[in-house]
């Protein structure tokens, strides 16, 4: 099962988005693990990561991700700010599915 993490400063504002995404994923029978993390937790996250999505407010961490994850299979991207703000679980889930080369819903 693919492992996706959403990162923001304290892991709080993304957690609401993650719970929406999980609900939609479950409704559509999509087997995917999604978690919200604080940026400081990412470093010590032990599971294998397939995709890291950054909240738009921490998009400046993109360079650090490129540095830290260059030798892994992890992909990374920034969440669109309007979809992030409106907590659009479906749109962000579709972004995840696209990035993981899966069929969108």
């Amino acid at each position: 099962m693919e492992n996706v993490v959403l990162v923001c400063t304290a892991g709080m504002s993304t957690s609401l988005l993650v719970s929406k995404m999980k609900k939609i994923a479950a409704e559509n029978n999509i087997q995917i693990n999604i978690e919200a993390l604080a940026q400081s937790e990412l470093k010590n996250y032990s599971k294998k990561i397939d995709l890291i999505l950054l909240g738009p407010q921490v998009k400046y961490l993109l360079n650090n991700l490129e540095r830290d994850y260059q030798n892994t299979q992890a992909k990374f991207a920034v969440i669109d700010s309007i979809q992030y703000g409106t907590l659009n679980g479906k749109a962000v889930l579709n972004q995840v599915l696209t990035l993981l080369d899966k069929k969108v819903i």
Binding site: C8, P56, Y60, N63
Partner: protein
Amino acid sequence: MLNKFMRLMENKFVPVASKLGSQRHLIAIRDAFISIMPLAIIGSLAILINNFPIRAYQNFMAFLFGPEWTSFSNYIYSGTFAIMSLLIVFSISYNLADSYDTDPLLAALISFSAFIITIIQSGKDGLTIPFQWLDASGLLVAILVAILATEIYVKMMNIIKLKKQKEEGTMSPILNRYFFALIPTIMIFLIFSLMRIVFASFGIENIIEEIYRLIQLPLMGLANNLGTALVIVFIGHFFWFLGLHGTNILEPVIQALYLPALQENIQAVNNNLAVPNIFTKPFFDSFVYMGGSGTTISLLIVIYLFSNSKRKRDLMKLSSTQSVFNINEPILYGLPIVMSPIYLIPFIFTPLILTLSSYFAILTGLVPKTIAMVPWGTPPIISGFLITGSITGSLLQIFNIFIGILIYFPFVKIAERIKE
């Protein structure tokens, strides 16, 4: 014209803010302060329990636990806020080494030792650690020592790692790990003890005291000035306006300047002295950033009371729970405030004006100075009471929210008229 301005901002300021926000040492400092936050909060609440300004409460506690009842909280304070520099040395070094993928625990232990080497004093009973410098007054030295020791450690370990790869060792890995760390450890201890001797030859025995007097004190003086506070609030919100987490980017600076200010206040309360500082970390968190950056709790109330836009009302419902805990990303990105020229004005001016109103409320003595730390997510009105120990703290928050409503109101209306 407006688009040109926005593009200029994107191209000129976003890269600078991004650099600041992703800078390795600043991240290590910020995360270090975040990790010691539980201890700082407990320590400050302990002092608040001791000094709650109600006579009946004081008498009751003394009756219940005896006249020495306050020593209980004093112990907690001694183990938390009073040794903040020790905690910070350890946690900065840990975070920094971790960011380099170098053994963080060893780095933190070495930095801890290096800090002790830097501050140890000879007293009449032999060597002593000067306890009064372990609180926030030793913070600058703690930050410098942690970064210096960790950098030396990481650089040397990297050289050793390269050498080691050429001649694969036969020792067990755990032995390997500590054996090879010996060389950098010795080097670091040599450097730091030599530094002591060099400083001593210039007549400086107490390095912490000198650096505090020459650098940290002037810096804190500068920080506790209305102009500086306004500039910090402005920069934080300007970054947010560009879509970047301004308060998070500035966090290392804010923590390093305004947490010591709070600690001075707490200590003054505990020693029955006049409380010195108006601007502290909780001053901004609780009086200005209510509902999150931009005091968006006022904006939500405006939308709740006066807006007919379905989209705005949906967004308000969606984010109201989070807003109570001062989290407002949905409003910032969803309304959006970010990069919106209409909301730029109230988003930046509300917090600036509330910084002014809170400053004058405290300056004139209407509201007492802040004397306790609460988590930044503590809901407004509750937090105002907790950080000042006075109901006037909550009243100031209500007043500020009201001012915010007045500022946001016309702009919400303008935004709606433009949409139509």
